[in-house]
Symmetry: C2
Subunit: 342 residues, 2 copies
DNA sequence: TTGTAGGCGTTATCAC
DNA sequence: GTGATAACGCCTACAA
């Protein structure tokens, strides 16, 4: 063993005067092995002295596991998505897994990146953050090589699914506006095809219907970005009359909504009330501190990780999980108030 | 080979009627091998038909490389840091590396997480996002096992270093306020011990000195969070007089600064001008659209990745890189204006 | 032009 | 109690 090279198990064994087999079992605390206390201590001492570190690659070649989980995310420019990432990453780390991070768009767009990521033996499983684009092709490539969990998708998919209670969050937001006296409430949606946005829209429609306001349903398609929120407002401003309340599907888009109203000289909540879904640090610093429904996004990521790890380790997991604990929670700030009209 | 199992190189070779050696060389496009065109096509055809995917673990056990780079980050709750992450991740992916993501605090606080991450054979190198805490212990553990690059640190470290031109950014910010007529300009610093903040502070001091304002140096220690910015303002408000201009070390902290002024009923920029360093999507949506100096953070991450990859692949890299291209750039919004006082 | 064999570092099986 | 040995899948001298 030369100076720079790390010692192998064989080096340790030789140095301790035992066979590699014994050294391996002692260092892995194999409960079925019976060795003299003295031998055990000698081996452990030598390993420590030589700075022995097990070779994870050799280990996973022998066994079948790698101790690594892939996180395929998108939209990391939004803090909302980063929350999910952070929750998943932390849960994996707690369970002893390292995490490989990839960007869904990059992976879908570059075949060689995808195969590097899914190379055999690299990953024990993948958490796929469900967006609204290339998802299906990606999902197929992934599931054909390792177990996967889908975050934020509808259930009834070929793989287990985890999501927060988007409908309940939207209901809570809509109820809040109704309680304040609003009757003309629009929903500013996410991008077309987003299941997350669709579930929120369903909650919004539900709530209007339950209050006999089903005829007032008013959905404006926008997107997840601040720019999309701004565009949506410009669209509203072209109408003869404005809704008095807005449920915005996402906090980043809501930022753009608020700025657009500020630039148009409309008072929030004086002329329009705005509430959004997702809470984040920046909401209280916007042009008007933004009222929101808090959703447990870190828990979402962590639950996906736990579910995947259960699958990997052979504990049979539930299939589709809708997270209800902690429940969506109203975070009151200054962007909603009683309606002036009617 | 059973139904579920993926085919191995040997399976492909057998099926194609050749030896594993030939199959390996053909599939890896070994330029020194000379095979009949027909044989080559047969091998490639069989590999494709069987869905052969090389086993990355076996490959890296044989060779020494794993094709994986570790990203040790901190503060992913701030979009500023996420920008660096995204730049590094994308650059690694472009170069054919997968990325392992870990959180610096978690790694420093949990020994078993650290050894799982640094397990032999797992990583070809590590990008360490330099913070202000556990960095040194972490750095030692990392560098003793793989090549590393430090992002955002001073140079003169035992490993190569990459950073943006923090001093120039602070100079630009300070100059801007001076040009607007401000003479009492405070610097709202990051946390104690942050080298990034120190470099910005140096730029600020420089600029004051160059304008014969050296006596007006006024540094308030805060931190990177919005809360820290708010606290710093509260501290300022206890003074008999306020500075007329503020250079805030970081855009997240600056959010808290603006909110604190709003809550205190002070007009920005009427009574105080505020400029910050780092641009991000949320700045234009704050209570006052925030003027900032844009710094190329994605480029920072990407440069760190490129530098590390050069090291790994044996191209001798420069040691310490200060990124000057693109240069820091002033992004004018509404939070700075001529001073009313003096 | 193609094949054989050895070994990367581990761990599981079986024998002593 | 402990040790030899084989195998995981791949790559690459060297041989034919």
């Amino acid at each position: 063993m030369s100076a720079g090279a790390r010692p192998t198990l064989r080096d340790v064994a030789t140095q301790a005067g035992v066979s590699p087999a014994i050294a391996s079992r002692v260092l892995n605390a194999d409960p079925t092995v019976r060795v003299r206390e003295e031998t055990r201590e000698r081996i452990q001492g030598v390993a420590k002295d030589m700075g022995y570190v097990p070779h994870s690659v050799a280990r996973s070649l022998r066994g079948a596991r790698t101790g690594a989980i892939g996180l395929v995310m998108h939209g990391l420019d939004s803090p909302i998505n980063v929350d999910v990432l952070a929750g998943a990453q932390a849960a994996c780390a707690r369970a002893g897994y390292v995490t490989l991070l990839a960007d869904a768009e990059q992976l879908a767009g570059d075949h060689s990146q995808l195969s590097a990521f899914l190379a055999r033996g690299r990953l024990d499983g993948v958490i796929l953050h469900s967006g609204y684009g290339e998802e299906d092709r990606l999902l197929e490539a992934i599931t054909s090589s390792v177990p996967a969990v889908l975050v934020n998708s509808e259930d009834g998919r070929p793989v287990p699914t985890v999501r927060v209670d988007d409908a309940a969050a939207a209901r809570l937001a809509t109820e809040h506006l109704i309680e304040l006296g609003h009757r003309e409430i629009a929903y500013i949606a996410g991008p077309e095809g987003s299941q997350t946005s669709d579930r929120r829209e369903a909650g919004y429609r539900d709530t209007l219907a339950r209050h006999d306001l089903g005829g007032a349903v008013d959905v404006v398609h926008a997107g997840w970005s601040a720019g999309a929120g701004t565009t949506a407002v410009h669209e509203l401003l072209r109408r003869p009359t404005l809704p008095t309340g807005l449920v915005v599907a996402n906090a980043v888009a809501a930022s753009g909504v608020l700025s657009a109203f500020r630039d148009a000289g409309l008072a929030v909540p004086g002329q329009v009330s705005v509430i959004t879904i997702h809470d984040s640090w920046f909401l209280q610093h916007l042009s008007v501190a933004l009222t929101a429904v808090r959703l447990p996004l870190q828990v979402l990521g962590a639950t996906a990780a736990d579910l995947l790890i259960d699958t990997i380790e052979g504990r049979s997991p539930v299939r589709d999980v809708a997270i209800t604990e902690p429940a969506p929670e109203l975070v009151l700030r200054r962007s909603t108030g009683p309606t002036s009209r009617r």
